[in-house]
Amino acid sequence: MRISKRRIALLVMAVLAGGPCLGQSGEETAATAAPAGAARSPMPSASTADHSKFKILQQSFASGPEVTQACLSCHTEASDQVMHSLHWTWDYTQPGTGTRLGKARVINSFCGNVAANEQRCTSCHAGYGWDDVRQPAPTNPAQVDCLACHDRSGQYAKADNMAGHPPLDPVPAGAKTITGADAWPVDLTRAAQSVGLPGRDNCGNCHFNGGGGDNVKHGDLSSALLNPSRATDVHMAADGPNFTCETCHVSDRHKVAGSRYDVLAHDDKGLPAPGMARDVATCESCHSAKPHPATLIGLKLNDHASRIACQTCHIPEFARGGVATKTRWDWSTAGRLKDGKPFSIEGFTQSDGEALHTYLSTKGDFEWAENVVPVYAWFDGQVHYTTPETTIDPSSVVEINSISGAPGDPASRIWPFKRMEGRQAYDTQLNRLAHTQVWGPKTDTAFWTNFDWGKSIQAAMDYVGAEYSGQFGFVDTHMYWPITHMVAPASEALDCQSCHAADGRLADVAGIYMPGTGTPLGGRIGLALLLAALAGVGLHGALRLIRKDDGKGCNHG
């Protein structure tokens, strides 16, 4: 029971962590993937099957689903397994609260919502042709996209606006892939014959590019992880253990360990025996709960591990490796035009010299940052969402998701987070977050077509069938992203005094006694006592001097 519950929970991350999302990749994104075989992570195959020798794959395929049909002739259960995974359902029911979450339902502070924008958003779905998230994902087994995760030819891609289908010959002018690169005609036969275990590029195509561009969303998942240095990611570096995503996010029957809503900091199963399967993606799963050596400091650090997440010290900064992350997205300023035409401003230069937009008519104002110091909070692994049904208080910052955890709770630890700041549309009468329709070139309601928020919001609210007053405004929002990737080498872990100092990193985290942050009560009383002693002997000595006696008396003091 425990295992299956956990697996279901873990699996959530795989889809929601990566968060494919709306994006207008042409403007928005740097081309992070080149057409053929570029940026492939090393993936030595230990397979006993060479798929290029399979007769059924030696044909020319006319569509993605045709390839899947061929896969299913051997891998008979694969589609059924995928369709029960979060990569497919985009649907998650939170244990305890029973709240329905998942990418198909939540509103985030990046692109907002999937509903009414499906052709664009579901381009990162692990399936083909999901064009209405008000309905469950497609049920035809051939709609599962095997190649998105298993193509090893490096040239399979999903178009950014075809609900998950790849661009095929002839590719329309200006077409883009989900990574923002100019689209190319995909060779499905080559892709089908190349299949193998997922590499970083397979996961990264969606998970690095969530939010409409490289590293926009997470801050700790970016194309910098395709071939990272040890300083960027000690686990994934080629001169380190060279992990793929699946080394930690192990999968079982296509359910992948890891959850965005139910994060595990603690692995109570402990280290597996040799050869035993692991099904938890935590640091402890490999490093144990006492990873530091038995030195004076090592023992103390092991004590820390039950209150401080490993990530807090070992990921001192995120958005490392030369790829900036978006830290602020203000939708309220979107829609300004120059000579009646949308425009962009490239006001941020990334460390590799690339200029990133700080304004887009389609999306509003942005801020970016590299090597970002996280914010820290108590976290028990649970994340609660402000859903479209939640009543908000627009007079203060709305937390799109709130981090659950408390200092007195043994299950909570202090975790690092990326805090995304945003300004988003809401219903000013009903005080609820509003859906927006931004993508939809063939409608006259989509914001990116006519830059009219009134029409965009009305259309999206009608689409999902939500109550809407017709009045909208924009509200400040915060969204929190637990930081867990881009683990730095131990030599670059945070030093003690990063936190044990008056203005240390955890100065805003309440509820823990932390020496070095200021004189505690006992210290103030003690200091008074010491000063009294000094004053006493000072006075005594002064009196002796005033009396002009040598004051030595005789024997001993």
Partner: protein, 218 residues
């Protein structure tokens, strides 16, 4: 009755004293760093030094306690009220008027009653307070599951810091009192050489001359 230079502080006695001095200074310096009152050395170095010095001092105390009881030297710390009033009066009054210190050091009783009482308090109250809170503080990892709110840690840490300051206050008064009487150097020298001017009874003198001639400076 004659005043003689007698070795009253054995080698162990002196090593114990000065090791204690050294470690207490290291502990005060590093303790203040850990508490955050200065940042002259890195926090981590302070924690390591503080812990190492504390463990070394605990070991020394264990040896010293054993030594005190096996040699009978613990008797030096038996408190007495006899003469206490005179000593107190001297520090509060006589010292300003050039009076003689009322206490004569003897072979079996080298501490004046005030000293005996303060050292006893140090050994029975302050030192136990510092090492008991220190050990509990150090072993926080073993009991933190019983203290999820951290109030226990707060209490132990504050008591430890308070005891540390109390010891620092003792050090201040202890050092200051060395300036009274013969003077600072005369007071410190015996703790280095071991020899101190002591009033001996003829019997004691005869005993020392016969059985422990090395303890008498000619």
């Amino acid at each position: 009755m004659a005043e003689r230079l007698v070795k009253v502080y054995s080698v162990f006695n002196r090593v114990w004293h000065w090791s204690q001095v050294g470690s207490i200074f290291v502990l005060l310096f590093t303790g203040l760093r850990v508490m955050g009152l200065h940042s002259l050395i890195p926090f981590k170095a302070a924690v390591v030094l503080h812990t190492a010095a504390a463990l070394a001092l605990l070991l020394l105390w264990a040896f010293a306690t054993f030594w005190l009881f096996t040699t009978g030297a613990w008797r030096q710390f038996i408190p007495t009220r006899t003469g206490l009033r005179a000593v107190l009066r001297f520090y509060a009054w006589g010292v300003f008027r050039g009076e003689e210190h009322p206490y004569q050091k003897r072979l079996r009783q080298r501490h004046n009653p005030l000293q005996a009482a303060s050292y006893l308090a140090l050994k029975l109250v302050l030192f136990p307070a510092i090492w008991s809170t220190g050990i509990v503080y150090l072993l926080h990892g073993a009991w933190m599951h019983l203290d999820p709110g951290g109030q226990g840690l707060w209490l132990v840490a504050n008591l430890h810091v308070l005891a540390g300051f109390a010891i620092a206050a003792f050090v201040v008064v202890h050092v200051y009192l060395l300036t009274i009487g013969h003077g600072f150097r005369e007071h410190v020298r015996p703790m280095i050489t071991g020899f101190e001017k002591v009033t001996l009874t003829p019997e004691q003198e005869a005993y020392l001359q016969t059985d422990e001639p090395g303890r008498l400076k000619p």
